[in-house]
Amino acid sequence: MKLPRMRTVLIVGGVALVAGAAAFHAWGVAHVRKVTGNEPQGMPSCIDCHRGGGPAKYERGIARPTPVDLAADPRGRLVYAACGAFQRVAIVDAESAVLLRFIAVPGDATGVAVSPKGDLLAVSLDDQKAIVFVDPAEDRIVGRVEVGLEPKGLAFNADGTLVFVANSGSGTVSVVDVAARTERLTAPAGRDPYRVAVSRDGARAAVVARMASLTTPEQVPTSELTLLDARTGAIVNRVALPSCHLTEGLAFSPDSARVLVPTLRVRNLLPITQVARGWVMSSVLASVDVATGAVSLFPLQSVNRAFPDPAGIAVSADGATAFVAASGAHVVASMDMRAMRVAEPLCDASKDERFSLSVLWMRGRTDVREMPGDVEFVGTGTKARVAVAERLGDSIALLSAAGGALVARVALGPAVDADAPRRGIGVFNSAEFAFQGDFSCRSCHPDGHTDGLTYDFEIDGLGRDVVLNRSLQGIRGTAPFKWNGLNPTIQRQCGMRFATVLTRADPIPEAKLDDLVAYLESMPPPLPPAGKDPARAFTTTAVERGTALFFRMKTKKGVAIPAEQQCVTCHPPPHYTHLQRADVGTGGDHDNTSSFDVPHLTGIGRKAPYLHDGRARSLEEIWTMPGVEDHHGVVTDMNKNELNDLIEFLRSL
């Protein structure tokens, strides 16, 4: 065949190229419109959504306009919603129940706050270690401040000079100077600080820690409420909330005397022999006296009616009514705050709560869409509304502030058929699969992670095999499952046996189980806690030295390390697990076996405590506790410096 002439080739090729580019552009615009419901912003590339390969985050059902945090404009009718991985802040007119527009932000928006004058927004960017300031009148970014890892909730102080930011990944609160656009200070704030509130009198800021602080396995877990001076940012008090965890909301009482915290009380020190009547966990409203730190616990559930996964709370301006969301039951309850005050002497935190008392203050429940989160009062008088972030509904429900009836619903995006991972999120966060709807998967695995607590399942003997709850983030490709590696699939892990030993109800239906698995497999591992700061050169080489130690095959003296004792044998990349069981000498007297599923190490820095029973509260303690000399890798020839390098490498995974 005679080849075409060069000129012809060039002309035909050029035309084909232009035509192809135009067709691709048209397809891309239609594609972005379809999956996001919005016009393409600028000129996005494929890599924007398909970063790292694999399904786009839109297709996984994650990057939708999911309202994760709300803020009400103090001037009246507007509600701002931080929409997570959608990287937008939605502006909703609560009076007319209309979505006005979105403001684009350069990161995953996990928190939003409005200045006292309503002229400035502060938005947490979860994936950027930063917050940005936004002028809502001009939809323009007007400042950016570096804060801690994975910032979540934030709040302005009363005069708008400071912003308090809960850094969930760092365990700190950042205090940001608004005018100077700088971080004034960082202070410790418990484990996974999540939401912030400022008192009406401007004196105090409160930060609630979502997770219980790390303790030894036999200690009662406590989460923490950090109280700060709202004018200076200095820590005033760190109040322990006994037995509490998964605290995701808080509000000051209007008289600024109390902080109200919906939370779960977990009873992980009891063997799980039943579920009823809060045996495993119950939901309460913790009331903390700001002046004294005294804690009262008001049950949110009744004897036979659970209130799973309490989330956001909003208190009316007169202090008479509060609305609390139950994320696992898809309801918002209204509460009589005055009745609570009368019954307070009966609700001391040192006692077990009396569920029957809840009828005194729980008024009614309003059904909302799946996974209600933050709750905010907006508007005044007859137009006062309670805005509810319907996280899985991608919408904001507007309830009547008078009685809690649903008045309107504002959709933040077009209705899209939910795919398997999206449906799986619903299964994961619903308490319908547990006996009496007591808890959901999320109750122990917030955002698919771990609560860091140990549990004793009855089936292997009371007091036997007390095991650490493990993170589900990044488990794709890491079968087998369960601490003893006996479950080859997630379906098996979460199927019939799970219903028998934990939820004590009918097993999750097969189709929904498949959706659940799809969701679990879609989650990436947690972000590593350590960051490299080029301003401090000496912190970057530790990871490099640690890498060499992890992969070494000889000791410092040149002696060959047996293959079974080399770190990389059991923990090879990419998941840093060889997907088998191993006995590394960590079995205890209460264990039925000493051979455990080798955990994957991606995100290990965020998965404290460690070992199958959680006895090591830090990575160091894996090797510094007695009884594991050179059974769990060869470390006894390392000095402290080298051990630290190894740990810095692990923290970087």
């Binding site: 000129m43 494929c46 760092s170 202070a187 820590i235």
Partner: protein, 391 residues
């Protein structure tokens, strides 16, 4: 042209165009984000650690009235090891626990309150966040909001449980231990360690840390002073050129001695204390001060606090002040009558002798801190507060 090239050229050209478009779109989105707001970054640090500020603190040499706090006032022990004053608040480390006086009220912490050991070697504060750090003989302690948290060599990156000195440096916490220097980045939770294996330390026994613009100094037992440029990670060290551990042969020839008991930095001046006197370094020249020639209270010096170009020292023979620029040394010593003899030497010659009715509780001084109205001196018999004499 070969046929294959006739096909290859347009194909390659098309591929190049596609690649250009793809890269341009990525760049465009990044540019769009970068253009959305002002770039807010901290100002770069000063490059010269030896530059003296224009508003150099003036030396205060005389303190004519003293008051002493003891266990009767709320301290857990009279044997006071360290003190830190913040305005009217006081934070005191003793051999039997820690005490804090806030708004006139004392609160004490001992083992019952969660301290791993009663001997508190040093106190450091992050006043903005109201966080207190303690060095103890059995671990590092953080106290905030009333909560006590302990870091040990087994539970954290701390090199050794014996923490001689702690120093807050922005988001970093420096800890001097017998096994080296441990640094905690309080924002990320990462630890960095320095010892004889990864630095130029001759040995890891570190007694103290001083921080300044871009540089950190370690005071090392039998290791002189080691300087770290924390931006580049480069080290340099300062040794006694004598090479003698028993005596200081030549004055002003370098670091005074290899055994550094403490170091302090302020306003372009680094102070080194040893068991053979005190030295200071202005970035170019070392000057040393001893009991015999310069008139410090004693050569066994355990602590120095630099303020401006003045060094306030704690020795086992009394409390002293060194005005380095004027070469004036003032020593405070208790007489047998309980009064305090104050002797001043200027350029080695006695120029003033006076007596005060009150003075530091004991000549065994362990820690000093100059404050706005005078000086705090920790001693083996209580914590003494000296008020500056009217000039």
């Amino acid at each position: 042209m070969k046929p294959i090239l006739r096909l290859a050229i347009p194909v390659l050209a098309a591929a190049g165009v596609v690649a250009f478009i793809a890269l341009r779109s990525v760049g465009a989105s990044d540019d769009a984000r970068a253009a959305e707001g002002p770039d807010v970054r901290p100002e770069p640090m000063a490059a010269d650690p030896w530059a003296a500020p224009a508003d150099l603190a003036k030396p205060v040499l005389y303190f004519d009235r003293w008051e002493t706090l003891t266990t009767k006032d709320g301290l857990p022990s009279d044997r006071v090891s360290s003190v830190l004053a913040e305005g009217d608040d006081l934070f005191v480390g003793t051999e039997r626990g820690f005490a804090a006086r806030r708004a006139g009220k004392w609160t004490t912490w001992g083992k019952a309150q969660g301290l791993p050991h009663g001997f508190v070697t040093s106190v450091a504060r992050d006043p903005a966040a109201d966080v207190t750090w303690l060095g103890t003989m059995k671990g590092l302690v953080r106290i905030s909001g009333g909560k006590v948290e302990v870091f040990t060599q087994k539970s954290s990156g701390l090199q050794n449980d014996v923490v001689y000195h702690v120093r807050v440096d922005g988001a970093l916490l420096w800890c001097a231990t017998p096994a080296g220097i441990s640094v905690l980045d309080t924002k990320s939770g990462s630890w960095s360690l320095f010892d004889q294996d990864n630095s130029i330390m001759a040995e890891p026994w570190c007694y103290s840390v001083a921080t300044g613009p871009e540089r950190v100094w370690f005071g090392i037992w039998a290791g002189g002073v080691v300087e770290l440029n924390r931006r580049t990670g480069a080290f340099r060290d300062y040794h006694d050129p004598d090479g003698e551990l028993e005596v200081d042969l030549l004055k002003d020839d370098g670091a005074l001695h290899e055994v550094t008991s403490f170091i302090s930095y302020d306003s372009g001046m680094l102070w080194q204390t040893t068991y053979f006197g005190v030295a200071r370094f202005d970035g170019h020249r070392w000057r040393s001060y001893g009991e015999k020639d310069e008139g410090i209270p004693g050569d066994f010096v355990v602590h120095v606090a630099g303020r401006g170009h003045t060094g306030y020292i704690a020795t086992d023979q009394g409390f002293g002040v060194i005005d380095g620029d004027a070469n004036v040394c003032v020593s405070y010593k208790r007489g047998k009558d309980g009064r305090t003899a104050v002797r001043t030497l200027t350029k080695g010659k006695e120029t003033d002798v006076r007596t005060y009715d009150t003075g530091p509780a004991s000549d065994y001084a362990t820690w000093v801190q100059p404050v706005a109205d005078g000086i705090w001196v920790a001693t083996g018999a209580g914590l003494s507060h000296g008020f500056a004499a009217k000039q």
